[in-house]
Amino acid sequence: MRQSHRRTVLHGAAALVLGLLVTSAMPRAADATTVDDIVSAGKVTIAIDTTTPPYGMIDNDMQPSGFDIELAQLIGKAMGVPVEFVTVTSPGRIPALLTGRADMVVSIFSITAERALQIAFSIPYASQSSVVLAPKSVNIKSAKDLAGLKVGVTRGTGEDGLLTAAAKDIPGIEILRFDDYASISQAMLSGQIDAMGGGDYGDIYLKKSAKGDDFELKYILKTFYFGIGVRKDSPELLQWLNTFIFTLRQDGTLDRLSMKYRKVPLPPLPTF
C-alpha cells in the first residue's frame, strides 16, 4: 500500500519534470513573427532594460524613459499598435526573444557575430563606446594600469569580453562580474571596485550620485553599434525594422534623440 503510494508520487514527479522540460523547450508556439501578426495581435511586446541610462531608465514619474524607450514607442506608433514593455536584464535579452516573451529587444544591444548565431540584428540605430571609468584619484591610462585593481563589469557585456581578454594578457587584473549596471555603479560608489567598464553614458549615471564629480572617463575600449534584436525566423519583421531605422536616420529623428538623451550627436552609422 505504502509502496504503491510512493510509486504514484514518483510517477507524478516524473510527469511534472517531463512536462516542465517539454514546455520550456517549445516556447515558440504562439510567437508573432511578422508585422501582420503584430498588427493583428493589437500590440507589440518590446524588451527593454531600465538600468542603462540614458538609453533606458525610470524617470521621476516612475515611467520608463530614455533613448531606447522613445525609439520603442516610435516603433509602436509607426506600426499603429500600443507598446507593451517587458523589462529584461542584460543577460536576459536573448532568452526573452527565444522564449517568445518579447517580439523584439530595444536595449543597447550591440551587434556581434556571436549573438547573431542565436538572434537577428537590425542595422544600427545608435552607437556607444565602451570605456573604463574610475575615480579621478586613480591613475589609469591603459589596460596595463589596471594590474592590481578590481574592475567591475556587467556580465556578458562588450566591456566584459574586452576586459576579460585584457586580464588574460596582464596578470593581476581582478574582474568582478555583476548582473546589471546598477550593481557595478553601487560597487563603484561603495569602493568595492577600483574601476569599472561601462558605456560612456555611465558618466551621466555616476554623476547623479553625491560623489559624482570624483569619477572620470579613463580610456575608450571599443565602439559598439546598437541594433534591434528579433528572432532569426522573422525576416519580414527585420526588413521592416531596417526600413524604419533608415527613415529615422534620414529625417533626423535619431540625431534628435541622441542630443536629447546623450547630449552629443551620433557618429556616422554604417549599414550592413
Binding site: 523547450a25 556580465r155 566584459d160 555583476f178 560597487a187 568595492q192
Partner: protein, 221 residues
C-alpha cells in the same frame, strides 16, 4: 518545437562548471558550519541565557527571518563599506549566508530544546548531574537528534540559496553558468545542465547527512 539543443559548447567548458560546483560546495560548507555555530549559541542563549540576551537573539532572528537573503547580501556588500567595513565578494557572501542560516538554525535548535520533556531534566537533576552536564547530555544532544532532519534540510536550502550570490560578483555554479550563457548563448542547455549538477550535489549531501546520522545517533532514545 524548432529549438535545436546543442550541449557540445557547454561540455567544452566542463572544467569551469566543476570549478563552479566546487565553489558552491565551499560556500555551503563554510556558511553552514559558521551558521550552525551561530544557531547553537543562539539557541542556548535563547533557552538558558539571561533575559537581555534572549531579547537580543530574538531581535536578530526576527530581523533576518523577515528580510530577503538578497537584501542581506546587498547590505553586507554595498552598504557596510560606507561604514568602513569592506569585505570581498566571497567574504561578504559567506558572512551573509552564515548570518542567514544562523537565524533559522537558532529556531530549529530551540524547537529541539523545547521538545525535551521536563521529566527527563528532573530525572537528570535527581541523579546529581550538574547544570552543564544536563544541558549538554540531556538537553542539547537529544535535541540536536530530534531536529537533525530539519537542520539538514536547512543546509540543503543553504546550498540552493548560494545560487544568488552572483549578484555581488561572488563566483559559484550559477555565476559560472551565467558567464557561459553569455559566451555561448545556449541558455536552455546550460540551465538544464546546472539544474542536474545541483540535483546531484543535493542528493550527495542528503546521503552524507544520512551516513553522519548513523554514526552520530547510533543509540536509541
Amino acid at each position: 518545437m524548432n529549438y535545436v539543443f546543442q550541449f557540445g559548447p557547454i561540455f567544452r567548458h566542463s572544467d569551469e562548471l566543476i570549478y563552479g560546483a566546487v565553489r558552491t560546495m565551499e560556500l555551503t560548507a563554510a556558511s553552514s558550519a559558521i551558521g550552525f555555530v551561530i544557531g547553537l549559541a543562539g539557541a542556548l542563549a535563547r533557552s538558558f541565557g539571561p533575559i537581555w540576551l534572549k531579547r537580543i537573539v530574538a531581535v536578530y532572528v526576527e530581523i533576518i527571518r523577515n528580510t530577503p537573503l538578497l537584501v542581506q547580501l546587498y547590505f553586507v556588500f554595498f552598504s557596510l563599506p560606507l561604514m568602513g567595513v569592506k569585505l570581498s565578494s566571497d567574504q561578504a557572501a559567506i558572512l551573509a549566508l552564515s548570518i542567514h542560516l544562523g537565524a533559522y538554525a537558532v529556531e530549529i535548535l530551540r524547537a529541539g530544546i523545547q521538545s525535551i520533556p521536563g521529566g527527563q531534566i528532573e530525572a537528570a537533576k535527581s541523579l546529581g548531574l550538574s547544570r552543564r552536564q544536563i544541558i549538554r547530555h540531556v538537553i542539547v544532544v537529544p535535541a540536536a537528534r530530534a531536529v537533525y532532519p530539519a537542520l539538514t534540510s536547512q543546509f540543503i536550502l543553504q546550498l540552493l540559496g548560494t545560487s544568488i550570490v552572483s549578484a555581488i560578483a561572488a563566483e559559484e555554479l550559477t555565476a559560472v553558468a551565467n558567464n557561459l550563457a553569455m559566451q555561448t548563448f545556449r541558455n536552455f542547455e546550460i540551465y538544464i545542465v546546472i539544474a542536474i549538477i545541483y540535483f546531484i550535489l543535493v542528493r550527495a549531501c542528503s546521503l552524507l547527512f544520512r551516513l553522519v546520522s548513523l554514526v552520530l545517533f547510533r543509540w536509541k532514545a
